[in-house]
């Protein structure tokens, strides 16, 4: 029985990017590109057309790559690198050219060749490889569009709208007008899909995995999107609309007040000050970090210097980049993390195998200690950039004392080399380590004696502690840093650090989680390093609490049974306040 279109319906999906939005739906309908098939008289001409279309596609992909790199970071832009490899694959081009030689037009020859290879990937047993089929088809469509003289499908948003689609390829999301994109609703996809990641980077609420029913929405139908709860209300009645608008209004007001106070220091009601700083992954992000009130950079991910290049970055190139960041931050501290790549973060010139267990594999400091030359280049560039600034350095994924000592020894060598070459460098650069592996937590007291600070990487530490892959939808729910098991580990690290007289920070998402902030405060955390967008809120929370209260909360939290119980306790405290 058809549903009365005027009744409100609630659709549930997976929260992909937080926030509330309300607006008219615009449906992205995948355009079926017609593939004309005809016998062409001039194979040379057809080959030329294909070549030109591929060149145009290449230029577009390079542009998209640069755009996504600037707005969402290098990791996200890596998929376009793969697109470029496929675009120029000799077997693909050869297959298309041979069809042209037998008399087919470029469109049909190319479409068939693309489908041939995409189909082969479809039939492979490995899901990672099968996923590449979609990329091959995306590239195929792009070239086909040029052959047909059609612009790549662009959804024009004439007014602020909520875009609804079955699924969107990275290039399609990147093509949406950010100014008019109120929210994104997808029938397919998960929280780690490209669409979700881009939406989060842009601060656009998004819900994915809504299922095919969302596609029954009509053009211009009113939608309420709650990206934090993963809910979409279709055709809200006046009551729902009013309630939603009130919630959204309150959220916007609060966000406004938080931003206004963002540059003030984070001091508790009883006068205890903590550092709230930013996690930064690209030079362009420093401005946003300062804008949001960051007191410094607690995690400078240096991978952006290494990704999407054909050769490793040299000392001079890195030096320039570090100088720009340090200059932008003035006298605020900047903590650079040495290169952290692994099987899940590819580098074309230092290609890393996709391992069966990348999180338990060859990555981060483990790789760099096998390539001391690469590590020392990074050290030398950092040393040379340091004069006049508060630069600190930390090592990722340190598991054994031996690794730490070797890294420090290489740093000393680099320092000697810089001095011998006659360059200036700050005398004392604090060296710290990320604590993200359970082995490091267990021996935190030993490690604390050999570093100047700890930075707890709660993202990975939570995965290792709860033995759950956050990308695996069956067990992702276990991956909650508010779980008492993780909190106890954090407590242990903070205590060990403070006993040895060093400061301790957290540079994982947990430090920006509103439920976790008061607990971390109470556990004695000195520094919260989080995404710029989360800084105003975190500071506002810290100011609402007294350290004494936070300590009471923390003491209770570590004796609770579950992450849910911890979150409930925090909220109970907050509403009582």
């Amino acid at each position: 029985m058809p549903q009365d279109p005027s009744t409100p319906r609630v659709l549930t999906g997976i929260p992909a990017a937080p926030g509330l939005a309300q607006g008219p739906a615009v449906l992205w309908r995948e355009e079926a590109l017609p593939v004309p098939q005809r016998q062409a008289a001039l194979p040379d001409g057809e080959r030329g057309r294909l070549h030109a279309a591929r060149a145009a596609a290449r230029a577009e992909i390079e542009r998209l790559k640069a755009q996504v790199e600037a707005t969402a970071g290098s990791g996200e832009a890596a998929v376009f690198q793969a697109h470029l490899m496929f675009l120029d694959d000799p077997a693909l081009v050869k297959l298309a050219d041979s069809a042209i030689d037998t008399g087919w037009n470029a469109e049909a020859a190319w479409a068939d060749a693309v489908e041939h290879f995409a189909g082969q990937l479809d039939r492979l047993p490995d899901p990672t490889l099968r996923a590449r089929a979609a990329d091959v088809r995306d590239v195929g469509r792009r070239v086909l569009g040029h052959l047909l003289g059609k612009m790549a499908q662009v959804l024009e948003l004439r007014q602020p709208s909520v875009v609804v689609a079955r699924d969107l390829a990275p290039s399609q999301v990147a093509s949406l007008d950010r100014e008019r994109l109120l929210a994104l609703c997808l029938a397919a996809g998960g929280p780690t899909s490209h669409a979700a990641i881009l939406a989060r980077a842009w601060g656009v609420p998004a819900v994915v995995g809504l299922g095919p029913s969302v596609l029954a929405v009509s053009e211009s139908q009113s939608l309420l999107v709650d990206g934090s709860r993963g809910e979409v209300v279709v055709n809200p009645d006046a009551h729902l609309l009013r309630a939603f608008r009130e919630r959204a209004g309150r959220a916007a007001e609060r966000a406004g007040a938080e931003r206004a106070a963002a540059r003030e220091p984070a001091v508790t009601r009883d006068g205890h000050r903590v550092e709230v700083v930013a996690n930064v992954g690209a030079i362009e992000e420093t401005a946003a970090a300062l804008d949001a009130g960051a007191g410094g950079i607690g995690l400078l991910r240096t991978e952006f210097l290494y990704l999407n290049r054909t050769a490793a970055p040299g000392e001079e190139g890195q030096l320039d980049a570090y100088r720009v960041v340090l200059k932008a931050m003035g006298s605020r501290s900047v903590i650079a993390r040495t290169l952290d790549v692994g099987g899940d973060k590819p580098l074309p010139y230092l290609p890393l195998d996709r391992e069966p267990n990348p999180f338990l594999g060859y990555r981060a400091i483990r790789i760099l200690l096998d390539h001391p030359d690469v590590l020392k280049i990074q050290f030398r560039a950092l040393l040379r950039a340091s004069p006049g600034h508060d630069l600190r350095i930390m090592f990722p994924l340190v598991t054994t004392l031996d690794e730490l000592r070797r890294a420090k020894a290489l740093f000393q060598e680099a320092r000697d080399e810089v001095r011998a070459a006659g360059h200036a460098a700050t005398e004392r650069i604090p060296l710290g380590m990320m604590v993200e592996v359970p082995a490091a937590v267990a021996l935190a007291d030993r490690f604390a004696r050999e570093v100047d600070f700890f930075s707890i990487g709660t993202n990975d530490l939570t995965q290792y502690t709860m033995a759950a892959d956050r990308g695996n939808e069956k067990v992702a729910h276990l991956n909650d840093g508010c779980h008492p098991a993780v909190l106890r580990q954090i407590q242990r690290v903070i205590e060990a650090g403070h006993q040895a007289g060093i400061w301790v920070g957290v540079c994982g998402e947990l430090a920006g989680d509103p439920d976790a902030v008061p607990v971390l405060l109470g556990l004695g955390l000195d520094e919260f390093s989080i995404a710029a967008a989360a800084i105003p809120r975190a500071k506002a929370i810290i100011r609402r609490w007294s350290l004494a209260e936070a300590r009471r909360l923390a003491a209770e939290a570590i004796n609770l049974d579950s992450a849910a119980a911890v979150r409930e306790r925090v909220r109970a405290y907050e509403s009582a306040a």
């Binding site: 490899m85 496929f86 694959d89 000799p90 077997a91 693909l92 050869k94 290879f117 082969q120 990937l121 492979l124 490995d126 990672t128 490889l129 590449r132 091959v136 099987g343 590819p346 074309p348 230092l350 290609p351 890393l352 195998d353 996709r354 391992e355 069966p356 060859y362 790789i367």
Partner: protein, 92 residues
């Protein structure tokens, strides 16, 4: 023309990343480079095509046959042999 048979020792065989290292290496040479999965009884495919190499289905301990033909066939064969025999050492 040079022909060599090698056993792929890597845990994941010639999978997404190892395949891309292999192809990136092959592309450096002017010679024609062909690869065959001996164990899997595949045809000889273009070693410079990532899309084709991905579909070879080379698993750990499979034997592959690499054929190089052209002006730098010696260097190409040596480079690819080193890659497989050292299990991509230095490239990982």
């Amino acid at each position: 023309m040079k022909k060599l048979r090698l056993q792929v020792v890597n845990e994941v065989g010639l999978h997404a990343r190892t395949a891309s290292i292999f192809v990136a290496e092959a592309i450096r040479f002017a010679s024609e480079i062909r690869v065959r999965n001996v164990t899997g009884e595949s045809d000889r495919v273009d070693g410079k095509s990532i899309l084709t190499v991905l579909t070879l289905g080379v698993e750990k301990d499979h034997e592959i046959e690499i054929t190089t033909d052209g002006p730098d066939e010696e260097q190409a064969a040596a480079a690819l042999e080193t890659l497989i025999v050292t299990d991509f050492a230095g490239k990982l």
